[in-house]
Symmetry: C2
Subunit: 357 residues, 2 copies
């Protein structure tokens, strides 16, 4: 993976973060440093994994807002991986991310560079989601436990067994909140075969491609928004100015609502979106417009840069774009875990994307 | 240990529970059954432990109120012990309780009977305390982690390392709350030598003696209250009728205040006591009367049976008794961890007991 591809990945991951973390700037700085030290990240096609290869599945858990105060430290990210290898007694052959959106998309690159193992071109969400069980592994019935967690002090624990994937999330979230709402995690190791059969494949390549499209458009003074739409078969839902944001960090999440007043073709209309780390449901003038698991991306109207729920603020001029969710997420099994009801909304999934619902 | 001694232990442990759990009736039923099955508990003097013997330190963590709904299951109590032995790769030679008060005093007997290992005649509190770090091991600087926790579903975890004993409690309490405010725990294994040097020795024998004194007094139609006072150099602080109780189960604890209106020699006076699982501070007519770490025991005025903060209610006729805390708890190191400030009160420790403060 070239240093240039990492730059593109950071931009693409911001868009796919669907509000849960912006452009992962601090992680990018860490990676630039690792590249300068001659520790590049290597990307590996899931097809190249041996059936019995052991893959570490890593992710930060918590409220993205906190990462703006407590900056990411690669040594911290590594800790639960080491704990898990000690726990299982088996070293890891490769590493992958739980989610391709936001900061977690660069996390396995840091871990892989430090450990000298390749990064699998796959994830488990095809975007970002706020909860650990909102993953393709959980949809397919694979357990999340053992689940290792570490904070930046010297607190470490392993959820050895859990009654369900949701219990792993529930207990993990309680721990995460006590630890300051940001922890590095390593969930149950996966074999190469399990990754191939149950992960969402090619996510990192896709995010690099998306980020490259945005960068190319900027270079050519074309619209980065249009580049995002073209790269991902996206829909342009709204254009406007952020009018108000209600936001609080609670129970290990950033929760709230953002309100955007339209301009140009949307003058006189209002878009509002709820969020739980990521944007979950969007309304235009009170009518449902888009919902999980479809991606709701709020992008800077000029640069195409993703705007996260932790940094969105009054006055920003934005385009609201929706990208279609991976078909696994919109299947019945998928919607049970990542659909609107899983987020506490008494709504049936409908999608603005052709063929999605 | 005879079945009769177990009956006495249950009564004595209720008194030493200082409000945190009443007479451990369900545990007693479990033990009677184990005795009938030919699985008695064996008591061992700490002096008889080999220096390098491995001792399991067990306790239930949570809000005592919950145990009135979710009855104790010996198999559940055993689970964290098995987890810890697997984690360290070393089987246990003996088992001891974190605290001699309330249900936790019978817990090691169940574990010992099921595992066929002896119960050490010692504890780490000399009473009951609400938080895991309020222990003689913590006062002496020994870590509580690794710390294994299990609930009655299939949720299990081990806090592998913690930044401090207080962090073990903090993270553990978060987990405990998510798990339903009652979990079985096994804290860091101790060697025989560590137990001898840092535990409070002879606690179980003392509780049996106390319980026997109460039973003897009942038999002879004498005052069980006077028997408690005589057995433990206690002070009789108040006699009255429970007038009001404010109680809530919150953050893994039972918290609240109990108000007792005096009769007989205390007619016209009012005793009030705050509690966090255990009674923490008591006032008579607004004046400080007694505080942690001294024991505040609310006993049925007639039977001498302990009344817990989870069952105390309007109309009960009670005697309020204080027993002196172990000298380790009232040392400067002890007070830092179990004194009034550790419970959030801006008070210096004073004691009604001669020579205690």
């Amino acid at each position: 993976m070239t240093a240039d591809e990492v730059e593109s990945l950071a931009i693409g991951a911001g868009v796919l973060g669907t509000g849960g973390g912006t452009h992962p700037y601090v992680e990018l700085l860490n990676l630039r440093k690792l590249y300068r030290q001659g520790k590049p990240a290597r990307l590996i096609d899931p097809a190249a994994l041996a059936d019995d290869a052991t893959v570490a599945v890593v992710g930060f858990m918590g409220a993205p807002l906190v990462t703006k105060e407590r900056l990411t430290d690669p040594a911290h990210a590594l800790r639960p991986v080491t704990m898990m290898a000690d726990h299982t007694g088996r070293p890891f052959d490769a590493v992958m991310t739980i989610e391709i959106g936001g900061e977690n998309s660069l996390l396995p690159l840091m871990v892989g560079a430090l450990m000298g193992i390749p990064v699998v071109d796959a994830d488990t969400m095809g975007r970002a989601f706020p909860e650990a069980q909102m993953s393709s592994f959980a949809i397919r019935g694979l357990p999340l436990a053992p689940f290792a967690m570490a904070d930046i002090r010297d607190n470490r624990l392993i959820i050895d067994r859990a009654a369900s994937q949701l219990w792993t999330e529930r207990i993990g979230r309680g721990v995460c909140t006590e630890m300051g709402s940001i922890v590095a995690t390593c969930s149950a190791p996966r074999t190469g075969r399990e990754v191939r059969e149950n992960a969402l494949l090619g996510s990192i390549g896709k995010a690099i491609h998306l980020g490259q499209a945005v960068r190319d458009a900027r270079q050519r003074h074309e619209s980065p928004i249009r580049a995002v739409l073209a790269a991902e078969r996206g829909l342009h839902l709204f254009t406007g100015k952020v009018a108000d944001v209600a936001r609080r960090t609670t129970q290990g999440f950033v929760r709230g609502v953002a309100i955007i007043d339209g301009f140009d073709e949307h003058a006189g209309s209002r878009f509002s979106a709820d969020f739980q780390n990521e944007f979950t449901i969007g309304w235009i003038d009170g009518d449902l417009a888009v919902m999980v698991p479809d991606l709701i991306c709020v992008l800077d109207a000029v640069s195409g840069e993703a705007i996260g729920t932790e940094t969105i603020r009054y006055g920003q001029r934005v385009a609201v774009v929706s990208l279609p969710a991976d078909p696994l997420l919109t299947s019945d099994e998928g919607l049970a875990i990542v659909g609107p009801k899983a987020f506490g909304y008494d709504l049936d999934y409908v999608s603005p994307h052709p063929g999605s619902s």
